[in-house]
Amino acid sequence: MNAPRAALLAALVLAGCGSDPVPPSPPANTETWDWGLPPGYPKPKVPADNPMTVAKVELGRRLFYDTRLSGNGTQSCASCHAQEKAFTDGLANAVGSTGQAHPRGSMAIVNVAYLSSLTWGNPILGSLEEQALLPMFGENPVELGLAGKEAELLARLSDFPQYHDMFADAFPGDAEPIILDNIVKAIAAFERSVVSYRSPYDRYTYEGDPSALSEAALRGKELFFSERLECFHCHGGFNFSDSVTHAGSTFTETMFHNTGLYNLGGTGAYPEGNAGIYEITHLASDMGRFRAPTLRNIALTAPYMHDGSIATLSEVLDHYAAGGRTIEAGPHAGVGSENPFKSELINGFTLTEAEKADVIAFLEALTDEALLGDARFSDPWKVEQTGGEP
């Protein structure tokens, strides 16, 4: 029997019918990334030109925590995305390396690999590689403050001998691996690796552990997924967000919603500089539309909404129960529930204090403690300073 027929027969025999089919030949770079996800948990999409490898994720982690990535050397990505706060910073408005305040709050770099659009309100920013350029080189406001300083950035990295090896390992075959393109690819790969799947909710829902959710959280879960509250309409699915895509998705859904937070002077307007995707599309109907972020770890990422204008989860529920926020006086006064651009899914509901406590118990069950201390996502520079094992 000649070679092709033998191979075909072997393939058929190995394949069988109804059991696991023949896997494709292993990728050339054998140190591929193991997500560690439990069965049934969707895997993130990875762009073809930036596959996940152990070396690349490790380099990305080092860059994520490196203050060389700011113009004045005072900030790194982690300055606004701290692991212990589920990769946010606890501020209503993020503050950049030169002290300028951002109109919006830092978003959690958790499960970002599953997002179909990035930042609070930008329908054309879909890739982590592209998004990294914003905080690095953005000037309005200045965040990391590297605009015009890319040559200096590359020089700083090249001056650190360990980076030579790390870049070469992460991008084998590149004659000159320390380039901007590889910096953003490595950072993106690290960000993709930060996946949350070990919360009490996951233990109950995916791993079938009855002890994981309290009675209150179970009642809260039912309320969350009920037609009365309808939280799941925008905050549903395994990632509690409707702007989600994963390896098995056939369509890319990107949704933006106006939840009636503002209604300046009854015109439907949101405060200038924080008008949501309107600032990108300039379509009137896009006024105040923002992306629904993931609710995983939400108990740790106060204050809430794009501008941190709601301080607690209890007040968040009040906002949705009212069908929109009323601001009595001041420059932002207005009756949010009457915002003409408000999403039709925000209609308000009744919620007793006991029920509110149950929903909050459920939201707290979305906190992934394991993620907060996972060494895979921790600051490698800190470990070195204390002399520990990286």
């Binding site: 054309i124 879909g126 590689e129 990294a132 000037e139 015009g148 300083k149 890319e150 990108i280």
Partner: protein, 289 residues
Amino acid sequence: MQLRLSLVSFVGLAVLSGCGGGGGGNATGEVPADPIDVALAFEARVGDAAFDCKATHPGLGTAGTEASITDFRLYVHDVRLRRADGTEVPVELEQDGLWQHQDLALLDFEDRTGACANGTPETNATLHGTAERGTYDGLSFKVGVPFELNHGDAAAAPSPLNLSAMFWSWNGGYKFFRADALPAGSMTAFNVHIGSLGCQADAGGKVTACAMPNRAEITLTGFDPLAEKVIIDYAALVAGTDLSKDTGGAPGCMSGPDDPECVTIFERLGIDIKDGTLHPDAQTLFRVE
């Protein structure tokens, strides 16, 4: 024997056609018939004074503001020489791997001295290329990055699309024109950033179209573009604007259609900010003397 002869003739023709053109080959690969080298010079001014990163420039805008100018760069493309009868002849840009790429060129007047902290020491005030031999009466070009080049991967882009200060990532492209000023004694910059807005992307993240392209068309006539320079005057651009305050929108004008500061600036670029139509006869940023 015959094969060898045709090979030689072929090679010979190729060599001959390469002569007379620019150093690095031409943008589209087409060689103009009877080509000549072309150098189109620009000079940056602020009013009557030469632009200078180290100087403060007085009397700017409707409030006569004195300001230092911290950046002054722009992309141009689709450069054409105009004949007296109005017909146009394309300029094939020299591919120098630095300032010019395909049909695009970067003019860079800041030199990273004085107030121009985020710039590059290198400057470029001249477009180099080839065009058909002839007598010309004027020059036309567009300000900006052409659509085909405006939405690529900025991190991996070739020069001159690799300058982070010209990235406009939040709008998915580049700043076409960038002239930033800092009024004396103020902490608030007045920045003019022109670029495409209202861009939409498909599910894969690729930009498919932009509702407001904002690529100004510039037409200058009555001079010999091969011998005389074009003046680009920052003061003329902001003459109708009060630089000392910002009444709304981004600090300065960042092409926002709702930004009151953008209305007169766009007029002086020859763009109607309401409907996006181009009015080359209305622009005042460029002139010849």
